[in-house]
Symmetry: C2
Subunit: 260 residues, 2 copies
């Protein structure tokens, strides 16, 4: 799926075309900024304003960025079209499903695959049910505020600060259980912890008695494009926590070895 290609220590880097690479890293800047001016881009990637200007003319001409009425640049429509195409073609659900089923079978608990579908909600796009009578049973296509779910928090923790800030602006923190995250500050603390731990928990924050663990699926730039989770009754989940975390790690490793 992703080849864990870092920027510097890559032995293939002698073939990288620097101007093209700069153009690609300009697009990646928009993970951290919603709008950027030519001068800001020039500073951020370390080129003169005149070359930054030429980069932006080139990118805008193909619709990869677009200019706002104030002369700033944003991500463009063509990028959205290509992204949807990439999503449709990678067939995330069908490729991940076998591993999700395997994880549900081995862990005995219900497993989910989620994406952030509109900036504030996570959507469960696939699931594999657990083997117990008492198990989590969601409807396919179920949507939920990201901060109420383990997968949502796992995705948010591995997004840029800019995306998180957008989330905080748009979301209302209506508590669903006594354990629900109450405000922006608490969410930011939780996100910091997830970054350290590498996994996210839902300790009865969406529904009493329900505990979930989740880990993110990361692209080559380190951003989460989806997350997988294991969910079940709190008593069982707390006992088997370490086992479940290992299941998540193993499954992600299998998924990453796929070639999308």
């Amino acid at each position: 799926m992703q080849k864990d290609t870092k920027k510097e220590d890559n032995q293939e880097s002698r073939y990288i075309l620097s101007s093209v690479d700069n153009a690609l890293s300009i697009m990646n800047l928009f993970f951290d900024y919603e709008e950027l001016s030519t001068a800001e881009i020039a500073k951020l990637i370390g080129v003169s304003r005149s070359t930054a200007f030429r980069f932006m003319v080139t990118l805008e001409n193909r619709g990869f960025v677009s200019k706002t009425e104030y002369g700033k640049y944003r991500l463009g429509l063509n990028l959205f079209s290509l992204g949807m195409l990439a999503y449709n073609r990678m067939e995330l659900v069908s490729m991940v499903h076998p591993y999700l089923s395997k994880m549900a079978e081995e862990s005995g608990e219900t497993c989910h695959l989620s994406i952030l579908d509109d900036g504030i909600h996570v959507m469960f796009i696939d699931r594999a049910l657990g083997s117990s009578c008492l198990r989590m049973d969601t409807a396919p296509g179920y949507r939920q505020f990201a901060h109420c779910t383990a997968t949502g928090k796992a995705i948010l923790a591995f997004q840029s600060d800019q995306v998180v800030n957008q989330y905080l602006k748009k979301t209302t923190f209506k508590p669903r259980t006594p354990n629900s995250i109450k405000d922006a500050q608490e969410l930011l603390q939780v996100i910091d912890q997830i970054k350290l731990d590498g996994y996210a928990c839902d300790n009865e924050e969406a529904e009493r008695g329900l505990t979930c663990f989740a880990k993110p699926l990361l692209d080559s730039s380190g951003h989460a494009y989806a997350a997988i989770s294991i969910s079940g009754p709190t008593t069982r989940m707390s006992t088997d926590k370490e086992i479940h975390l290992q299941h998540l790690t193993d499954t992600i490793e299998s998924i990453n070895s796929l070639s999308f």
Copy 2:
């Protein structure tokens, strides 16, 4: 929204960086091909195999393309991440909604905004209800096979052959009404007609008595990223067809003048 920037007759083209532009057009090749080899890319954009090789190393290093186990290239995960980001940030629904409401008010009929959400289904992501008692009334988030809806056909008609072929492979043509499209051949004929007309019809193909007209929203490369439609009872719709088509044209013009 999109600036209708053609490739050649652009007076800004003296600033375009050719190597970056080639890299962007390589990504756009994937609208027409799901997988491409280095040699194929070299032929298609008109460079030597050695430079095409360098382009692909550069693109793969940033996750914009990924290599399959057979050594061919596909669109990469980073492109999906950026596309989702672009989609979330452009806030399609909130930007288009005022125009959709205006169109519903002026036409008196229910209007929809749709995207192709997984390659085979269209999803109605926004609607504005008509003023009549007898009106189309869908649930938000309603999904339907693309070939059964006007918006779905409008989007398919302005996608690459490759996307259409994928659609034909994955879809089952179960007729929903006597007018439903019966097979792949019929759909291809309809698509050709839509390309000529610039709009798509649903003549009681999803539900008896219901007629819809739709037009696509196009990005700078000419691909549909969404579509808008007007829906209502066949008797009214057939009478007011030309008026509704004009409403669609006017609305799209307004949307295109927005800067996403």
